[in-house]
């Protein structure tokens, strides 16, 4: 069984409490972050993800609730008493110290011996592939290099949990992509629990073991990247992660793990693991790449191509359904790379039983 690294229990955080304009940043969040896990807090800005990270680090105090670190309650401890370290968004390297002194800072504060500090710093600089930069000042480093030093500095004191506050957002696109796999490797090599905050869904999907999707101070869903993408629990998650089409429908019948949904003037048989009742209003989440387009019309959902967009590997079609709504459909381009349909073509939508996700409301 895996240990729980961070246990967050019904945590609420209200800023300006008691003033005329209290702001509820976290509205009862409970999370179980496992040891040796790459855990991501994902959500739009203002969703409370950074506040949650700052609560774990100790920069903010929770208004209500408990935070446990490997079974120990830490919510009353000051940041310097918590065995967690943070990688800041703008790195926050000490400008008056060399790279070596920056990385050594935490170890020095912990009262480690000179020899231990110097060997550990060397080891950390080796880990982030920057051993030759020890005597430089932060101002002499590029953004990517500063990022690595910030990582080395935070990892040097052997934190039980590493907190990363949008650490890639200040880097340019190419570097950001390179750092993703590096971060993932670093996590695997060090075995430290990473709690990573981002608003970038692609970052979250590519790096995380598990993701908590947050909005409005609440955790909407916790799951592996696949679960989050394939089985979103509500419209917010489906909309925030990847691209989705939403179709309103009604449950018309049930048999075993399948439900019959009346949607867009047609009936679809779909798989679901959730309980539904006949007559219930539901929303179908249809990922653009999971809908197949066919030239032959049938009794199912028919429509007309309204617009096409060539995307290299795929073509994106906007399909106007006979029943009214418009859908985005992605079709992989063939060997010759040409799109199969053109604007004005009549098409039918082929939706497999496991291609759509049925959610309540």
């Amino acid at each position: 069984m895996t240990d729980t690294a961070v246990d967050i229990r019904s945590v609420r955080k209200v800023f300006n409490a008691g003033s005329a304009h209290p702001v509820t940043a976290l509205d009862g969040v409970s999370l179980n972050i496992l040891d040796n896990e790459f855990f991501t807090l994902l959500g739009p800005s203002g969703c409370g993800k950074t506040t949650l990270l700052r609560l774990i680090a100790g920069f903010e105090q929770a208004s209500e609730g408990e935070i446990l670190l490997f079974g120990q309650r830490i919510e009353r401890l000051s940041p310097h008493e918590r065995p967690v370290n943070t990688v800041f968004q703008q790195y926050a390297l000490f400008p008056h110290m060399t790279v070596f002194d920056n990385v050594a800072f935490g170890l020095e504060m912990l009262g480690k011996s000179k020899s231990e500090i110097s060997s550990r710093v060397g080891q950390m600089l080796e880990l982030v592939k920057m051993p030759e930069f020890a005597s430089r000042k932060p101002a002499q480093l590029s953004g990517g290099q500063q990022q690595r030093i910030a990582l080395a500095r935070a990892l040097a004191p052997h934190p039980k949990v590493l907190l990363l506050d949008e650490p890639l957002s200040a880097l340019d696109l190419k570097l950001r992509h390179a750092m993703r796999s590096e971060l993932k490797t670093l996590q695997r090599e060090t075995g430290v629990t990473f709690i990573f905050v981002t608003h970038d869904q692609e970052e979250a999907l590519t790096m995380s073991d598990r993701i908590a999707v947050m909005s409005n101070g609440l955790v909407q869903q916790v799951g592996s990247p696949t679960e989050i993408y394939e089985l979103p629990v509500n419209r917010f998650v489906a909309d925030f992660i990847g691209r989705s089409n939403f179709l309103e429908g009604q449950i018309a019948g049930m048999s075993g793990s399948k439900v019959e949904v009346e949607v867009a003037g047609s009936r679809l048989e779909l798989e679901t693991s959730d309980r539904h009742s006949v007559g219930e209003r539901v929303t179908l989440v249809l990922r653009p790449e999971k809908i197949a387009l066919k030239a032959q019309l049938n009794g199912g959902i028919n429509g007309k191509i309204l617009d096409t967009m060539y995307l290299g590997t795929d073509t994106s079609y906007t399909v106007k359904l006979e029943a009214g709504p418009e859908l985005e459909v992605r079709d992989q381009n063939g060997l010759m790379g040409s799109a199969r349909f053109k604007v004005g073509d009549a098409v039918s939508l082929d939706i497999a039983p496991n291609a759509a996700r049925v959610i309540q409301g």
Binding site: H80, N85, F88, L93, M109, P157
Partner: protein, 295 residues
């Protein structure tokens, strides 16, 4: 082509160079020359080379013209230096929390508070120092108040003491300490303090290892801005220190007035100037300067 660009540059600089030359270099040269001339008993100098003024710094001439070592002037130098140092230190201690507080305020409030710090400059220093006399003298505000609440029976001597001079100096030069301190603290990134705190540094160590070193350029600039004028101050020690608590500034002023000993005044001015230069040299060699973090 190159030449005309050079000429243009010098032409642009010439007003500044002219002012510096006429009002700084030439007067200092005059002071140097005067310090090596003989005094005219009615004021002014006699065109005759003499090192008498410099001898007078440390020696007294006896009736039979022999030189006797005298500590009178040394004592005044010493008092000036330690009063200036102490007022610098007190200003620093008083200004640190003020500057820190202002730097942590929201943007809109910062400017108002900085403006408040500069309010004393709106009134002449002489008038403000006279006000201190009214407050400190035997029949003044403090003594009157203490007597009224029967804490003391007879007035305690506040005015014409070293303490009064110190108070006056700190009062006069405190804004010069607050402003550069504020400037360097305002630039301080809160994230750096959080990072240090996160890396197991307690409040004191965060201050010692991060806040203080980063605020150092401001601290040094503030210390120089207080120490230099405090060392040469003469209004404050004159008015609050009275005759027996002379400082360098008053002593120099006296040589050009009542004592009519211009060469000696000039020599002392040069001594004061060298003190200031030494202070600036220390600043120039400070680590903050080397790193180019000058304010």
């Amino acid at each position: 082509m190159m030449r005309s660009a050079t000429i243009k540059r010098w032409l642009g600089l010439s007003p500044a160079l002219l002012v510096i030359g006429l009002f700084m270099v030439v007067p200092i040269l005059i002071v140097i020359v005067y310090s090596f001339l003989a005094k005219d008993p009615y004021g002014g100098v006699e065109p005759q080379f003499s090192t008498e003024a410099y001898k007078q710094l440390l020696f007294e001439r006896d009736f039979d013209d022999t030189l006797l070592f005298s500590t009178v002037n040394l004592k005044i130098f010493w008092r000036s230096v330690w009063l200036a140092l102490l007022s610098t230190l007190l200003s620093l201690v008083a200004a640190l929390p003020v500057a820190y507080y202002i730097a942590r305020q929201p943007e809109s409030r910062k400017n108002t508070l900085v403006l408040l710090v500069t309010i004393p400059f709106w009134t002449n220093l002489l008038i403000r120092t006279y006000c201190w006399i009214l407050i400190l003298r035997d029949t003044g505000l403090i003594n009157g108040l203490l007597q009224r609440i029967h804490l003391i029976d007879s007035p305690i001597t506040l005015l014409y003491t070293n303490g009064a001079v110190l108070l006056g100096l700190v009062y006069s030069y405190l804004p010069f300490m607050v402003l550069p301190l504020y400037a360097s603290m305002e630039k301080l990134d809160m994230k750096l303090l959080e990072a240090a705190h996160d890396l197991y540094a307690n409040r004191w160590r965060v201050f010692r290892r991060v806040s203080l070193p980063l605020a150092l350029p401001g601290i040094i600039a503030g210390c120089i801005l207080v120490f230099i004028p405090a060392l040469g101050a003469f209004i404050t020690p004159q008015l609050l220190g009275g005759g027996k608590n002379l400082m360098l500034g008053s002593l120099i002023q006296m040589q050009f007035g009542a004592s009519r000993n211009w060469p000696f005044g000039a020599a002392m001015s040069l001594v004061l100037l060298s003190f200031v230069l030494i202070a600036l040299l220390i600043y120039a060699r400070s680590p903050a300067q080397r790193d180019g973090n000058l304010i």
